[in-house]
C-alpha cells in the first residue's frame, strides 16, 4: 500500500487492572497478565508500521505496561528490525484509577488521533466511551465478561486501525455506531455499553456479580445469545442484536420461570425470571428502588440506599467502533494491501 505522510496518529489505551478481578476465584475466568498486554501492543505496533502509521500516543500506567513497552521500543533500537511508529507516552498525572483512562482518552481526542485502540474488558470500554466523543474505538478484549470488545488477534485489529488511519477505507466502510445506556441515579449520571444490573448486594465490594440470587434487574443495550456475562440473562428471554434499534430488560427472582445463563466464564447458572420486555430508544424507564447496588457492564459501581430515584435510557448515538472484518474486506478489495515493491498478482 502507499505510505502517506499524512497518516493520522493512533492512540492506545491498555487498562492495567483488567483481567485480574475476583472472577478468577468465583469462576474460571482467564488471568490476563501485564506481559501479555505488552505483547499485544507490540503486535499492534508491527501492524501499524506496516500500514504507514508514524505516531502512536500511549497511555502511561503505574503497573508496568508502559514501562514494558518502553523497554521493547528501546530494545529494538540498533537491532536492524523493521521500524515501529514513534511511541509517545502521554505526560499526565497518574491516579491508578479509571480517571487515568478518562484523561488519556481526552488527550488523545484533543490530539486528533484517527482512532483509539482499547485493550480491556467491558468496564474499560465503558470508561473510554464516556470520554471519546466521535473518535472511533478499535476494541480488543483483555478482560473477563466481555460482550462489547472483540476477542481477536491484535495484529488484525492493528492492521484495520492502521488502514483506517491511512485513509485506505472510508468511515462509512469501516465504522459502526453502537448503542449505550444512560443511567441517572439522583444527581449522578453514568453510561454503560452492554448492560446495567441492579443487585441486592449492598456494597460495591469486589465489584463483580456472580451470585444469581443477588440479581434483581438487568437492562441490556444488546443481548446476544453468544455473549458471556450478565447480558446473557436478557438474551435467554429476549435476544437483541447490536444493530437493532431497541434494548431489552428482565426482572429476576420470585416464582418466575428459570433459565440457564452463562453469567461468567465457566458459570452457567439458573436465573429465575419474573418479567421481561423491550427498551425503546430515548424513553426513560424507572429502576425499582431498593437497597443494593448497580453494576455497569459487569462491575458494581453505585450503592443504592433505597431512597434515590434511578432512571435508565437507551440511546442509539453511542460510540463509533471499527468493524475489523468490514475494514479489512474493503481494504483488500481496494488493493490497499498490495506491496508497492512487488507486482500485482
Amino acid at each position: 500500500m502507499k505510505h502517506s505522510s499524512s497518516t493520522a496518529a493512533l492512540g492506545i489505551i491498555a487498562n492495567p487492572a483488567s483481567g485480574r478481578d475476583i472472577r478468577r476465584l468465583t469462576s474460571r475466568a482467564l488471568v490476563f497478565p501485564t506481559v501479555e498486554k505488552v505483547n499485544m501492543i507490540e503486535r499492534l505496533l508491527g501492524a501499524f508500521a506496516a500500514t504507514g502509521v508514524q505516531r502512536v500516543l500511549m497511555m502511561p500506567d503505574l503497573v508496568g505496561i508502559a514501562a514494558g513497552l518502553l523497554r521493547a521500543v528501546e530494545g529494538r533500537r540498533g537491532q536492524g528490525e523493521a521500524a515501529w511508529p514513534e511511541v509517545e507516552f502521554l505526560d499526565m498525572p497518574l491516579t491508578d484509577s479509571a480517571l487515568d483512562t478518562q484523561r488519556a482518552v481526552e488527550r488523545m481526542r484533543a490530539a486528533g488521533v484517527a482512532a483509539i485502540v482499547v485493550l480491556g474488558g467491558d468496564g474499560t470500554h465503558r470508561i473510554v466511551a464516556g470520554a471519546c466523543g466521535e473518535t472511533p474505538l478499535a476494541t480488543l478484549s483483555s478482560g473477563t465478561n466481555n460482550a462489547f470488545p472483540d476477542l481477536r488477534e491484535a495484529t488484525l485489529t492493528g492492521l484495520a486501525a492502521g488502514l483506517f488511519a491511512a485513509g485506505a477505507v472510508t468511515p462509512d466502510e469501516a465504522l459502526v455506531r453502537n448503542k449505550r445506556l444512560r443511567l441517572q441515579v439522583g444527581e449522578r449520571e453514568e453510561l454503560a455499553l452492554v448492560e446495567v444490573c441492579v443487585t441486592h448486594l449492598e456494597h460495591v465490594g469486589a465489584r463483580a456479580v456472580w451470585d444469581p440470587s443477588s440479581i434483581a434487574e438487568v437492562y441490556a443495550a444488546f443481548a446476544e445469545p453468544d455473549a458471556i456475562g450478565l447480558s446473557s440473562i436478557v438474551a435467554g428471554v429476549s435476544p437483541v442484536g447490536r444493530r437493532q434499534p431497541q434494548g431489552a430488560w428482565v426482572h429476576c427472582g420470585g416464582e418466575g420461570h428459570g433459565m440457564l445463563a452463562p453469567i461468567a466464564p465457566g458459570l452457567v447458572v439458573p436465573v429465575p425470571i419474573s418479567a421481561s420486555g423491550l427498551l425503546q430508544p430515548d424513553q426513560p424507564v424507572a429502576l425499582r428502588s431498593l437497597r443494593g447496588s448497580v453494576a455497569l457492564d459487569g462491575e458494581r459501581e453505585i450503592e443504592l440506599d433505597g431512597r434515590q430515584t434511578a432512571t435508565l435510557t437507551l440511546e442509539l448515538d453511542g460510540p463509533l467502533s471499527l468493524d475489523v472484518p468490514a475494514t479489512l474486506d474493503a481494504a483488500i478489495r481496494r488493493g490497499a494491501l498490495h506491496h508497492p515493491a512487488m507486482g500485482r498478482p
Binding site: P16, A17, R20, D21, I22, R24, L25, T26, V31, P33, T34, V35, L62, V63, G64, A67, L201, E202, H203, V204, G205, A206, R207, W210, D211, S213, S214, R291, E303, D305
Partner: protein, 324 residues
C-alpha cells in the same frame, strides 16, 4: 458466595480496624521515647486487609504473619493488652515478653506468629493446611506476605507445594509498594504479584486494599474455595503503609505528600465510615463511641504494660524448648 455482612459484622469490622490504627498510632508516639526495646514495623494504613481477610476466618483457621504483624494479630483475635505488654517486653505479654513485636504468636486463636524472616510464613501455612487436609477438617491457612517476600524462594516453594498437594492455603500478598526502602517498581519483575499465580497453576487476583468491602469479598471467595477443596489461590491486596519500614525510617525514598494524599483520599477507615453512615447502616455516634472505647482500651494497655514486671533471670531458660 461470601456471607452478607450484618450490622454486627460492620461494627466489628470498624472496631477491629480502629483498634489496629489506635494501637499503631500509639506505638508510633511511644517508640520515639526510646523506652520500647527492639524494632517495631507499623501496620497503620493497611487495616482493611487484615480485617477483611480475618473476618472470613474462625479460630481453627491459621494465619502466618510478617515482621509487620500487629494488624494480623489483632484481626485474628490476639488480645491487644497482651500484645502491648509483649512489645514492651513484659512478663504479662502474649509470649511472656520474650518475643517482642516480631514474634507475637497465639496458637489458641490460630495465629502462628509474626515472623522476622521475610517470606518465612509460606512453608508454615503449608504445614497447618496439610494437617487440616489429612485430618479431614474444613480449616484453611492464610500466609500474609509483602512485595519484598514475593521475590523470596520460600514463597515460590510454598506456592508450588500448596498447588501440588492441593492445600487449603490463601497466599495473601500485601503489596504496599516498598520492600524496606526499595520500590516494588524496581524489584518485582511482573509488577502485579497476582500474575505469578498462573505459574503455579492457581488463580490470582488483585484487589483494592483500602476498601474493606472489596478485601472481605475477595478473600471470602478465596477462603470458601479452599474450604471446599478447591485448592490454593493468590490474592494480591494493593495498599500503602503510613509509616516507615521500621520506626525511625526517614522515608526519603517516598515522594513528598505521598502518604498524606493517601490518608486524605483513600484511608480505609474514612472510606468505611463514609459508606456505612451514608447508607444509614451505622450512625456516626456509634462509630464515635467505638473510637472512644478503643482509645480507652489502648490507653489502658500502655499504662498496664509500663507497670507490669519484666521477665526475671529465672525466666531465661523457660519456654526455650518444647516437647511434642
Amino acid at each position: 458466595m461470601t456471607k452478607a455482612l450484618t450490622r454486627d459484622d460492620l461494627l466489628k469490622a470498624y472496631r477491629t480496624m480502629r483498634t489496629i490504627r489506635e494501637f499503631e498510632e500509639r506505638l508510633h508516639t511511644d517508640f520515639a521515647t526510646g523506652e520500647i526495646p527492639g524494632f517495631v514495623h507499623l501496620y497503620a494504613g493497611e487495616e482493611a486487609s487484615a480485617t477483611g481477610v480475618c473476618m472470613n476466618l474462625t479460630a481453627e483457621d491459621h494465619i502466618a504473619s510478617t515482621h509487620r504483624g500487629h494488624g494480623h494479630c489483632i484481626a485474628k483475635g490476639v488480645d491487644p493488652v497482651g500484645m502491648m505488654a509483649e512489645i514492651w517486653g513484659r512478663k504479662t505479654g502474649t509470649c511472656k515478653g520474650k518475643g517482642g513485636s516480631m514474634h507475637i504468636a497465639d496458637l489458641s486463636v490460630g495465629m502462628l506468629g509474626a515472623n522476622g524472616i521475610v517470606g518465612g510464613g509460606g512453608p508454615l501455612v503449608c504445614g497447618t493446611a496439610l494437617a487440616a487436609k489429612l485430618r479431614g477438617q474444613p480449616y484453611v491457612s492464610v500466609c500474609f506476605f509483602g512485595d519484598g517476600a514475593s521475590n523470596q524462594g520460600t514463597i515460590f516453594e510454598a506456592m508450588n507445594l500448596a498447588s501440588v498437594w492441593n492445600l487449603p492455603v490463601i497466599f495473601l500478598a500485601e503489596n504496599n509498594g516498598y520492600a524496606e526502602a526499595t520500590s516494588s517498581k524496581f524489584s518485582v519483575a511482573c509488577d502485579n504479584i497476582a500474575d505469578r499465580a498462573s505459574a503455579f497453576g492457581m488463580p490470582g487476583i488483585t484487589v483494592d486494599g483500602f476498601d474493606f468491602f472489596a478485601v472481605y469479598e475477595a478473600a471470602g471467595a478465596a477462603i470458601e474455595r479452599a474450604r471446599k477443596g478447591g485448592g490454593p489461590s493468590l490474592v494480591e491486596v494493593k495498599l500503602s503503609r503510613y509509616y516507615g519500614h521500621f520506626e525511625g525510617d526517614q522515608q526519603t525514598y517516598r515522594a513528598p505528600g505521598e502518604v498524606q494524599n493517601i490518608r486524605d483520599t483513600k484511608d480505609c477507615l474514612l472510606q468505611f465510615a463514609r459508606r456505612v453512615t451514608a447508607n444509614g447502616q451505622i450512625s456516626q455516634a456509634e462509630l464515635d463511641a467505638i473510637d472512644a472505647e478503643v482509645k480507652a482500651l489502648i490507653d489502658g494497655s500502655v499504662a498496664k504494660a509500663k507497670s507490669d514486671p519484666k521477665p526475671s533471670e529465672a525466666d531465661l531458660l523457660t519456654d526455650v524448648y518444647v516437647s511434642y
